[in-house]
């Protein structure tokens, strides 16, 4: 563990910018929104900013991405395929631990299974991750219920913890260690180690005071979802509120479903596109011959929460599919983000009334 003074922070960012394209949280002046964004102007980086409204997912798995280009030549009846070079070193600075956990879930989906997704891999390969401990939770947070915060435990190159003035820095990789040494950071003593632990403990115990928007009984809900003992009426109730917009999937740091489209370009080439998709859409599971295993909206909702929380899914990711960032609750037009759904499940278990 090392100390990074407030004055050294810009040096760290500068150093990274020499090699990487810098991403991090910034404020939109007019709306006040915190956006995780590419920062051509490094001074916009704000590590004290609240959790960004968008997860960093788009950097590795863009909303809309051209993954291939090809041209069919009718004369020769040949197809010429153009490989796209996606490799671009990127540094994500100030990642919150929920979002880092989300990224690790995406890794398991795209890289750790039989098939390795080369496009995701290309984005992922040259990534430098600087995580940032949440010394105080934000109103929508419930990462303590999903074991994904408030501090990162793995997956970072450097991990920062703000101590009031300076940052405690932990190196999580060789790359991170090298940078720490290059910057000549002062090594922290064992007392500082205790300080970090204290800061994290304080953060956890302040959830009751600050993180008031959502309460999630994740473990009970996981149990219930896994055993399938949730009454159909609960799903019907949830289905009735769904606007079928797909937002819950789009804002989820761990949602990885995508759609593939071939778009013909004016140039005569065809562009193969990968775009975000969502299980809330009817067309998502529609099969040939008018079959749809999940036609009613409540079946689609059921599937989403099964995917996020059931035990069998968790085995695949080695953790729940929810990282407790609370974004789906804020973005949902029907007020059926994951925390509310868990509440409905809890009500069913405890027999509490609706209010």
């Amino acid at each position: 563990m090392y100390w990074l003074t407030k004055e050294q922070l810009p040096l760290l960012v500068q150093k990274l910018a020499e090699e990487y394209k810098i991403f991090g949280p910034r404020h939109d002046r007019v709306s006040g929104e915190v956006i995780f964004d590419h920062l051509p102007d490094l001074s916009e980086l704000d590590l004290q900013a609240a959790i960004p409204y968008n997860p960093p997912k788009f950097i590795l798995f863009p909303h809309y991405e051209e993954i291939l280009k090809y041209r069919y030549q009718p004369e020769t009846k040949k197809v010429r395929i153009e490989q796209l070079n996606l490799l671009e070193p990127k540094a994500l600075i100030g990642l919150r631990s929920c979002d880092l956990t989300g990224l690790l879930c995406l890794d398991r989906f795209f890289l750790d299974q039989e098939y390795v997704d080369e496009f995701y891999l290309a984005h992922r390969k040259k990534l430098f991750i600087v995580s940032n401990t949440c010394i105080r939770p934000f109103p929508q947070c419930f990462c303590v219920c999903t074991d994904s915060g408030p501090a990162a435990r793995e997956g970072f190159d450097l991990d920062l913890t703000f101590t009031g003035r300076d940052y405690l820095v932990e190196a999580g990789s060789k790359k991170g260690q090298a940078l720490v040494e290059e910057l000549n950071l002062v090594e922290a003593d064992s007392e500082s180690l205790n300080l970090k632990k204290q800061i994290i403990d304080d953060s956890v115990s302040s959830f009751d005071r600050f993180a008031l928007e959502n309460k999630a009984w994740i473990s009970r809900a996981t149990n219930r979802l896994t055993t399938g003992f949730i009454k159909p009426e609960v799903w019907e109730y949830i289905g009735n509120q769904c606007f079928e917009c797909g937002a819950c999937s789009f804002v989820c740091p761990t949602c990885s479903c995508f759609n593939i489209e071939d778009a013909n370009l004016a140039s005569g080439e065809t562009s193969r596109l990968r775009t975000w998709d969502s299980c809330s859409f009817e067309g998502y599971t529609k099969m040939a011959g008018d079959h749809n295993p999940r036609k009613p909206v409540e079946d689609r909702r059921n599937k989403r929460f099964f995917c996020k929380l059931s035990y069998s899914q968790s085995k695949k990711y080695l953790r729940p599919g929810c990282v407790g960032c609370g974004r789906c609750a804020r973005v949902c037009p029907g007020d059926i983000g994951l925390p509310n759904v868990v509440t409905y499940i809890r009500r069913e278990i405890t027999g509490e009334s609706g209010e």
Partner: protein, 672 residues
């Protein structure tokens, strides 16, 4: 690849979003959490606007018809072609159709181009069902032609009434706000023959027979009086003609209304009592893609006036526009009945003011909307169309007879093939412009990407045309046009780009009294007393002929919003929304008619069985779709143009699409 703040351009909600721009491409979209209305939400359309903005189906250079195809030409050639032909045409032979998706600046200029240069008063907008009537009703009632309440304060209302339409599909984020209010304790009622999602979420759903919402609202007024739920002080202080209205209400017999509408007295009483108990109450109805008839809008306004809910903070009668800048386009006079700022075309002084302001002579004859121009008579010889949305295509045979059709569009469109001249234009992220949403919020959208090489914005092309026709137009930016608007239109008086750049919109009236805009209409600030809106005897009559109902026992209604995301010309250029739309199309490739479970079992119909729908003048075969969402005695056809719109609906389409309360008496026969 930074995210840039902007405003969604699909429906009249005007949600805030962030567009991710990479190179010169819009590669993604994300909701803006700080937006005062959308608060970090988008609907399925909004979440895919970048797919539309990616499309390569652009019109990228001016074209002139050459035999059966088009040849690319320079702007100058295209301008010359138009100038030469237009010069000879009297204004009465020209009609101009604008797009409610264009910015305020471009639609103002289009209106000015029509009136001041083409000398025509035949100008209107596509997809504006009910907007004109809504503005007239509200002007008559309270002198304010749009939403009297505000969406940003909707959550504070303790009574919300949604009349007609399918808000959850049409303006999902407004519906979400209502949903949110409802979950927090607001009483929510819906009046609609169909069981929409909004109806399912409501505490009280009144399901009147098709065409009878007007009577339900009248009945509610009568019940309010019976319940002694009217505020005499409010009526005597703030309204001008309450005595006459109350006299008329006395004539109404609730029992007759119960019989006519199928709504029980108890239900009406419950709704009336909740309205009475509320401190703040809002009503919502759709305009644009689908709307109500005049009498129903008037009755709704009158009901809320009677309850003392007009001009109070947190309350209001709120028309919701289906398309992004429908309200703004009306504000700036793209209408045969309103000059910019809602001055009436019957007001001689307003014409004089406009002549002085535009420094040109104007013709006073009364214009028509383009639909009427094309369906009546042979006067029209030339047509100017901006971004056609598959609405006037039903007049295709008439359109083919015209001498000149000029089309301005950003995207390829089948309509363009009818034109002699085609001008490309920029898309909404390729030029600055302001857009006015349903709650009168004027929002500035800044240019984020460069247009395809050489493509000019509409305002530039119009300016060039004006100059080529000998008029001294010298706008050099859209900001220029906005400063002209702010001098002419009182509601827009204090709007400047500088101000709008620093804010997430300002709600008109923005004038000397309210330089920062106005949240809602307040009775204390109203320029005159409110009036109950007159509904004449003819309008009060029951729609549909009673004697034909024996042969045609079903009431056929059409809906445009449920499976149809506004103009297909727009949604077809996306991937995910198109897929969702196609999912239904694949199930019912030749269209469907919804029939209630009760009628289906009585007639022994099964799902997808082909039936024949017979109207007085035509018939059509469709697959039956058995639904719990509609009433017995009612049939419902989603109105999909081309793919699913049956030919026979085309005859009635003008009425059917404008007014949700209109129905067609039909009978249903099994095909053996």
């Amino acid at each position: 690849m930074p995210y840039f703040r902007g405003v969604c351009n699909f429906c009249g909600t005007g949600c805030g979003h962030l567009l991710r721009v990479e190179g010169n491409r819009v590669r993604g979209v994300y909701p803006l959490s700080g937006h005062p209305l959308s608060r970090g939400r988008l609907c399925v359309r909004g979440w895919h606007i970048h797919e539309l903005l990616q499309t390569e189906d652009r019109i990228s250079q001016p074209l002139i018809k050459d035999g059966s195809s088009f040849k690319p030409v320079s702007y100058e050639e295209a301008l010359d072609y138009v100038v030469e032909r237009v010069k000879k045409l009297p204004g009465r032979q020209v009609a101009v159709l604008g797009s409610p998706r264009s910015s305020n600046e471009e639609n103002y200029l289009l209106g000015k181009f029509a009136r001041a240069i083409l000398k025509t008063n035949n100008l209107s907008l596509s997809s504006d069902a009910g907007q004109e009537e809504s503005a007239r009703v509200l002007l008559e009632g309270c002198g304010w032609p749009a939403m009297t309440g505000t969406l940003a304060e909707l959550r504070q209302a303790d009574f919300i009434l949604v009349v007609g339409g399918d808000l959850t599909k049409q303006n999902p984020i407004i519906a979400s706000e209502i949903h949110h209010a409802h979950r927090a304790g607001t009483f929510l009622a819906t009046i609609s023959p169909r069981k929409t999602q909004m109806a399912r979420l409501s505490q009280l759903h009144l399901r009147p027979k098709p065409g009878t919402i007007f009577y339900v609202l009248q009945g509610l007024g009568r019940v309010l009086v019976e319940e002694k739920a009217i505020d005499d002080d409010y009526l005597s202080t703030f309204t001008a003609n309450s005595q006459t209205f109350l006299e008329e209400l006395k004539q109404i017999e609730v029992e007759k209304i119960v019989e006519l509408t199928g709504i029980s007295r108890e239900q009406m009483t419950e709704l009336a009592r909740k309205l009475k108990e509320s401190n703040s109450a809002c009503a919502f109805y759709p305009t644009g893609v689908q709307s109500l008839d005049r009498r129903t809008m008037a009755a709704l306004f009158n009901l809320f006036l009677l309850a003392g809910k007009i001009g109070r903070r947190g309350s209001g009668v709120n028309p919701v526009t289906g398309i992004s800048n429908l309200l703004g386009s009306y504000d700036l006079g793209l209408s045969p009945v309103f000059l910019p700022g809602y001055a009436s075309v019957e007001d001689e002084l307003a014409w004089e003011r406009l002549e002085n302001f535009w420094q040109t002579k104007l013709d006073r004859w009364s214009g028509k909307n383009v639909d009427t121009c094309l369906s009546e008579g042979e006067d029209i010889k030339a047509l100017f169309v901006v971004d056609h949305d598959e609405e006037i295509i039903r007049h295709v045979n008439r359109i083919r007879q015209l001498d000149l059709i000029v089309y301005f569009g950003a995207y390829e469109n089948p309509f363009a093939s009818l034109a002699q001249v085609i001008f490309p234009r920029t898309s909404y992220v390729e030029e600055d412009g302001t857009y006015t949403n349903s709650e009168r919020r004027v929002q500035l959208v800044l240019k984020r990407i460069e247009p395809p090489a050489g493509v000019r914005p509409l305002w530039k092309t119009l300016t060039n045309l004006a100059r080529a026709l000998g008029h001294d137009w010298n706008y050099d930016s859209v900001e220029n046009i906005m400063s002209e608007i702010s001098q002419l239109v009182p509601y827009y008086r204090s709007l400047t780009y500088e101000k709008l750049k620093a804010r997430l919109g300002l709600k008109w009236p923005a004038d000397d009294l309210h330089p920062e805009g106005t949240d809602c209409l307040l009775v204390e600030e109203a320029s005159r007393r409110f009036r109950f809106v007159q509904v004449n005897g003819q309008e009060k009559k029951l729609a549909g002929e009673p004697e034909v109902q024996k042969d045609f026992p079903f009431k056929l209604v059409v809906g445009r919003s449920n499976y149809f995301w506004h103009q297909n010309s727009v949604m077809k250029r996306t991937f995910i929304p198109k897929r969702e739309y196609n999912a239904l199309l694949l199930l019912y490739p030749r269209g469907f008619v919804e029939i209630s479970k009760e009628d289906a079992s009585r007639l022994g119909l099964r799902e997808k069985q082909v039936v024949r729908i017979v109207a007085e003048s035509a018939e059509v075969r469709l697959a039956a779709r058995i639904s719990g969402d509609i009433l017995p005695g009612m049939l419902y056809i989603p109105y999909f143009i081309d793919e699913m719109i049956p030919e026979f609906l085309h005859r009635q389409v003008a009425d059917l699409e404008k007014n949700e309360e209109f129905f067609l008496p039909v009978r249903l026969e099994k095909v053996v």
